[in-house]
């Protein structure tokens, strides 16, 4: 009986500890959506710098956050605070994202090409696996937001991390930090 109670408590604790935005699968499908949308499916069409996806994840997950980041109008104080929060969350997401990238590479879903002195580059190698994941309508909202992002940020695929941070955050008055 006590074992059941303890198990129930543990289950409740794990439910409470769950944060959808920090789950590894959230980063998995976000990464694949970005690479798929940008047609990064071969070595000639690589996505430059995986770290950029850490800054795109929240924008793909929320229409409101994407609107704030892409607006040309000056942001009010609340908008700036929200954007600063997204930046901080993205910065802390970079390390888990690297591990997710490695996990995807080990599974053969993506391939990384690392050159000394340059950001690592990657592309989808398991098109079937990716397609089987993304073919559902569950990801329609994310795909629509990715299109908007792609149209707003030209050269997103090859853009450097610094340029991305400037376009999405610094240009709206958010102090950017880290590499």
């Amino acid at each position: 009986m006590s074992s059941e109670i303890a198990s129930s408590h543990e289950a409740s604790r794990r439910r409470l500890m769950f944060v959808p935005g920090e789950d590894f699968y959230f980063l998995v499908y976000t990464t694949l959506i970005v690479l798929d949308d940008l047609k990064c499916t071969s070595a000639t069409y690589e996505f430059s710098d995986l770290r950029k996806i850490a800054y795109l994840a929240d924008l793909l997950g929320s229409a409101d956050d994407l609107r704030i980041a892409l607006t040309n109008a000056p942001l009010n104080q609340a908008g700036q605070a929200r954007l600063a929060l997204l930046y901080d969350r993205a910065a802390t997401r970079r390390l888990p994202l690297e591990r997710v990238g490695d996990a995807l590479a080990r599974r053969g879903l993506v391939t990384f090409r690392r050159t000394e002195g340059e950001p690592e580059k990657l592309f989808i190698t398991d098109l079937d696996g990716t397609t089987s994941l993304l073919k559902t309508s569950l990801f329609d909202a994310e795909r629509q937001r990715m299109k908007r992002l792609r149209r707003s940020l030209s050269h997103l695929r090859t853009m450097t991390l610094a340029t991305l941070k400037t376009r999405l955050f610094a240009d709206h008055g958010v102090n950017t930090w880290g590499d």
């Binding site: 074992s3 303890a6 198990s7 543990e10 289950a11 794990r14 439910r15 769950f18 959808p20 935005g21 789950d23 590894f24 699968y25 959230f26 998995v28 499908y29 997950g61 929320s62 591990r99 997710v100 490695d102 996990a103 995807l104 080990r106 599974r107 879903l109 696996g129 089987s132 994941l133 559902t136 569950l138 990801f139 909202a141």
Partner: protein, 635 residues
């Protein structure tokens, strides 16, 4: 009457000194060349008796250098006052006081101030008392003051006036008061004794009464002017105002009775005022209720917005969990045995940690969720979404109910407003009649208040009128009293002035060959030959003989003039030496009438030879009046 005689004049200082010999009655000649100290001798006497001498002051352009540069200096004048001898001392460095010492009795020493201040007894009062002359208070304009010895000295001290056309010596301060006609007349009349203290007291009161009357008249005029501007019918007197007030009060009572009657006619009908008050009260209650409902509605709207936002967030999470579950089921990238550090699969034994240490399977801390756990989380989140939806529905239900209540209260409030608007247009004949009565009552009350204020103003005006009438009566009474006293003195004065004129004419006729008649005008100024004689050379004899006439009059009759003259070198205004000598010669002739003293300072050979024996002080360029201390010489 009293008599003044100077017995000795002394000056003492650290640098200079002087001491006259004993000066007898009769003529005392002080002879000296120009700038040897003749005038200083006369000025020392005048200064010693409390007179102001400009040259002795340490300020001014015409300073007497020897005296103003000397230190610890004083003048000592020994005087006989009605046979009593005193020695008076006045210091130059403290001229505000005079020390009086009775001759031969050092215990009788008194210090008196020279200048009058706040009614204090001054040196002049003491001296006039000794001479039996009563000091009188005079009123000139707003000024009032007692006559002093220095005022009387204006007809006893014949100084070197550069304009001897003036008989009276110049006052110490040129002012319309000190040199006013009233002052000069008073000096003359006091000295010849034709007036009384009562007359001047009465005259003073008369002047005060004139001033009071003028002030009260001015106050009344100002008041009338101010009241005339404030009230349109200021001419109505108190009697008529009181009658008007009574009429209005009676009208007010009649109106009050009419109002009571109107109320009795329809006692059940609510008054329009109470209707209006009730409606206002209702309206206020509705407005308060509406305000409270608005606050609740605002809170509910805020709550609904928060719930909608929360629902949206929860739905997003549910969707994301669904996507995560889909990804997990499609890719199965992670399991409870995945390394939390490198995300590689680890071959973990049952009931052991990934490092190999034994641990209960239930107690093993998993870093990844299983499909079941994801589903459990999804259900939990979906349940949360349902809970929030129910809360939102409850909130919206409550909001809808509230909206209905707001509409109801708003309608009730609008209804009250409409009723008030209708009430404002017409509310029956009863209300109109009562309103008319009330309006009339207000009008009558306003008019009544105005009349009462006007009556108060009228009472105040009456008081001013009464005060003015009292001042006018007092003025008339004093005028009559003063006139009576004046008339009483007039007979005596006429006789004395006739005698004065006779003596004066005789002295002048003996001095100037073409003078036949001399008389005094109403202001006691001399008129020679009926005013036709205006030779400048006559001015010195005219003034000198005036003084001598007073002396002569005092020697032959009992008048207050103290039988003393101080004459300082009358050589101005172009008088020739012969006429001057003749005029001076009259002094001795006058003194033959009785005992008096005339101190004359003059130059050598300016007076008749037979008067040489009367020379008691001789001053030369070598033997000047003030001599350095070391010489200690005495004439």
């Amino acid at each position: 009457m009293g008599r003044l005689a100077i017995r000795k004049v002394e000056y003492s200082g650290e640098k200079y000194e002087f001491a006259s010999p004993e000066l007898p009655d009769g003529l005392v000649v002080v002879e000296g060349d120009n700038r040897t100290g003749k005038s200083t001798f006369a000025d020392l006497i005048f200064f010693g008796l409390g007179g102001p001498v400009k040259q002795f002051a340490k300020k001014g352009k015409e300073q007497h250098k020897e005296i103003t540069s000397d230190v610890k200096n004083a003048v000592h004048v020994t005087v006989d006052l009605n046979g009593e001898r005193f020695r008076v001392t006045r210091r130059f460095d403290a001229p505000q006081d005079i020390l009086i010492a009775a001759h031969g009795d050092l215990s009788e020493v008194e210090v008196l101030p020279v200048h009058r201040h706040e009614g204090r007894r001054v040196f002049s009062d003491w001296l006039l008392e000794k001479l039996g002359i009563r000091s009188v208070t005079l009123f000139v304009g707003s000024y009032n003051g007692k006559l002093n010895l220095t005022d009387l000295m204006r007809l006893m001290y014949h100084d070197q006036d550069p304009d001897p056309a003036r008989v009276f010596m110049r006052p110490d301060r040129e002012s319309f008061v000190a040199d006013s006609l009233d002052f000069r007349r008073a000096i003359f009349e006091i000295l010849i004794g034709t007036t009384s203290e009562k007359f001047y007291e009465s005259l003073g009161k008369l002047r005060m009464a004139e001033r009071t009357h003028a002030e009260r008249q001015a106050t009344l005029d100002v008041y009338k002017n101010a009241v005339g501007q404030l009230t349109p019918h200021a001419d109505t007197n108190a009697v008529f105002l009181e009658k008007q007030i009574k009429d209005h009060e009676a009208q007010l009572e009649r109106l009050a009775a009419s109002r009571r009657q109107a109320r009795k006619t329809n006692p059940t009908a609510p008054s329009p005022e109470s209707d209006l008050m009730n409606m206002r009260r209702d309206l206020a209650a509705h407005e308060v209720k509406l305000g409270a409902l608005e606050r609740v509605r605002s809170d509910l709207v805020t709550e609904r917005v928060r719930l909608i936002s929360l629902e949206g967030q929860l739905i997003d999470e549910v969707l994301r969990i669904q996507k995560i579950i889909h990804a997990h089921e499609t890719l199965a990238l992670f399991s409870p045995d995945t390394c939390p550090c490198c995300l590689r699969p680890v071959a973990r034994a049952q009931a052991a940690c990934i490092c190999g240490q034994p641990v209960e399977e239930d107690a093993y801390q998993r870093f990844f969720y299983s499909s079941d756990e994801y589903l459990s989380i999804l259900k939990s989140k979906q349940k949360n979404v349902q809970t929030v939806r129910e809360a939102r529905a409850g909130c919206e239900l409550e909001l809808a109910g509230l909206e209905k209540r707001v509409v109801g209260v708003q309608a009730a409030s609008d209804e009250v407003r409409k009723r008030m608007e209708r009430w404002g247009g017409s509310h029956g004949t009863y209300g109109t009649l009562l309103e008319q009565i009330d309006d009339k009552i207000v009008d009558v009350r306003v008019e009544l208040e105005r009349l009462k204020q006007q009556l108060d103003l009228e009472f105040a005006r009456n008081k001013l009128e009464q005060a003015l009438a009292a001042a006018r009566e007092e003025l008339e009474r004093l005028r009559i009293e003063t006139q009576k006293l004046e008339l009483d003195a007039q007979a005596d004065r006429v006789a004395k002035i006739a005698r004065f004129n006779a003596i004066y004419t005789e002295l002048m006729a003996d001095t100037l060959e073409d003078v036949r008649t001399v008389r005094l005008d109403a202001d006691y100024e001399p008129i020679l030959n009926g005013g036709e004689y205006r030779e400048a050379s006559s001015r010195v004899p005219r003034r000198l003989m005036y003084f001598l006439t007073l002396l002569s009059l005092s020697l032959e009759s009992d008048i207050p003039f103290p039988r003393f003259l101080l004459i300082d070198t009358p050589e101005t205004a172009g008088i020739d030496r012969e006429n001057l000598s003749r005029a001076i010669g009259k002094i001795a002739a006058v003194l033959e009438k009785g005992t008096g003293q005339v101190i004359l300072t003059t130059g050598p050979d300016r007076y008749p030879n037979q008067m040489q024996s009367k020379r008691f002080v001789t001053l030369t360029q070598k033997e000047k009046l003030l001599r350095p201390q070391r010489t200690r010489a005495m004439t």
